[in-house]
Amino acid sequence: MTYIQIIINSLIIGGIYALFAIGFSFTFRILNFFNFFYGALFLVTPYIIFELIVYLHLSFIYSCLISISITTLVNLIVSKNIFSPLSRNSQHSSLLLIVSFMLLFLSQNMIILFVGADVKNLKKYVHQITFTFHDLTITAQQMLIILLSLSLMVFFYFLINRTLFGLKIKAVSYNFEISELRGINSQGIIMISCIISSLLASLAGILISIEQNIEPGMGLPMMLKGIAAALLGGEMIYASVIGAYAIGLLENLSIWFFPSGFKSLVLFCLLIVIIIVKQRIFLQLKLKKNKK
């Protein structure tokens, strides 16, 4: 029974990671660098919801909608005014990474300054319905998480692989200039991809807030997990989804075998191993840049 419970827990947390990883691979395709600001969107969304519920007494659903629109707007502004001028002019892509990393850290500090460094609980604002089968327990929210993540994965798989829009995204990520020449509105595609990715980041933030407590430091670990899953998958969306579930399972299993503090240790050793083993992706990226 314990093993089944571990698998269910892994499905829940893996589903959230998968959503996050899909969104991350969207930004990675388009912007071609590890955008840590994506983690900031994930981090900020639950805090905006918390503020809206506590100070403006809005309902959970309304505050979710408002916070998603705020983060999407912020993502659009940041990518248009900070990332695109830097990526057009800079020779070093690590500069972009540092800027995005600093933006993640900026949002973390702003949360500490304006909301507080302590752990917040959003679960109490959501009505909890618990189902019990023998020893297994699962809440309605957790079922929603599993269903939502699975259905969104299928949706994005078809969006990328079976539609014209997916083909356009691939074209723009492959070569910006040539796709412009072929009549694709590259700026428009980049904008839509930004919107989609920030929607997914916010959704992952909302889902994690109804599953766990939220704290200002949760952006970076989540970001590293998302990167690990996205790198594991490479060009294929479904492979990064499998990677995300694998990370969820590994996390739950590592709690079983090691003290809880070593959870992050196991994960980041895995991240380094993934990067070193999967040099193929790196080579692809390099080829892509050389062709430009």
Partner: protein, 290 residues
């Protein structure tokens, strides 16, 4: 000199040495190392642990710290040698998080999140260094030794090789330079500077915990490195370090609530850093064209 100004001068010297190591790696060679504070932590924790066992000896902890710093830097360079830019940053970030998790969780060795207190003073053969002014004097000597050492290396090999590697490492390997070995050497050099500085930091402050070496505290160093520009001399670095270290002292005078000082300081640092990076793009391009 009052105790306060002596303390500030020591902190400025420590940070300037740290920034020097970082600038060697990033501003000169173009390698980004987010595990830099882990190397700093290695020196501090190494000294704190070994000096407990050998309280009267300074040379032995120093040697052990130097050996472990070289070893750690060499491993980092091995891990990152096949990669450039983003992937190097990612691997070093992973390494930093791993070191952080180890410091927090190896309770029997590092005392976990509580940290190590009551670290022994430095004991130089016959003279025990206790007062802040002694530390200041010692740090000035250490800085001078390091600068002399770096100057020797520059005269022998020239910094231009590092700058050329930064601009185009593939071209440099085509020209017959062993780029990987040079990069490893720079990693080791900057790691050594960080670890030795960490040692002095631990013995001066007398208390260290994992939060002292958090990845986020790299912000001031990044800011100094961005301010110092492309080919900074030590005096440049010292000047900008003084600015960055003295700035929070000004914030403290505004009588803000205690909890808000840290985040506010970080926010201002980050905003300055982003503005510099956004405005520096012209400058970077000019350098590459030259």
């Amino acid at each position: 000199m009052t105790t306060y100004t002596t303390h500030l001068s020591i902190i400025i010297l420590i940070y300037s040495l740290l920034s020097l190591g970082y600038c060697l790696l990033y501003n000169y060679t173009g390698i980004i190392n987010l595990a830099y504070f882990s190397q700093f932590a290695l020196g501090a924790y190494g000294y704190a642990l070994i000096s407990r066992i050998y309280p009267s000896n300074f040379i032995f902890p120093l040697l052990l710290v130097i050996i472990s710093a070289i070893f750690f830097a060499f491993i980092l360079s091995l891990l990152t040698r096949k990669f450039v830019n983003d992937y190097v940053a990612l691997i070093t970030l992973g390494a930093a998080v791993i070191v952080d998790a180890l410091l927090k969780n190896l309770n029997s060795i590092t005392n976990g999140p509580l940290g190590i207190s009551d670290i022994k003073n430095i004991n130089l053969l016959f003279y025990k260094i206790t007062s802040p002014s002694d530390y200041l004097f010692l740090l000035i000597i250490v800085t001078l030794i390091m600068l002399f050492f770096l100057n020797y290396i520059r005269n022998r090999y020239g910094y231009y090789i590092l700058l050329a590697i930064k601009s185009d490492d593939q071209l440099m390997s085509t020209l017959g330079y062993n780029v990987k070995a040079i990069k490893s050497f720079v990693y080791i050099l900057s790691g050594l500077i960080a670890a030795v500085t960490g040692m002095f930091y631990a013995s001066y402050i007398k208390f260290i915990d994992p939060y002292t070496f958090s990845i986020y505290l790299l912000t001031p160093i990044l800011l100094i490195s961005a301010l110092a520009g492309d080919r900074p001399s030590y005096l440049h670095i010292l000047f900008y370090t003084t600015l960055v270290i003295l700035f929070p002292e000004i914030i403290k005078n505004f009588q803000l609530p205690q909890y808000s000082i840290g985040p506010l300081q970080q926010i201002i640092f980050i905003l300055t850093l982003i503005i510099i990076m956004l405005s520096q793009k012209q400058y970077l391009i000019a350098h590459v064209k030259n």
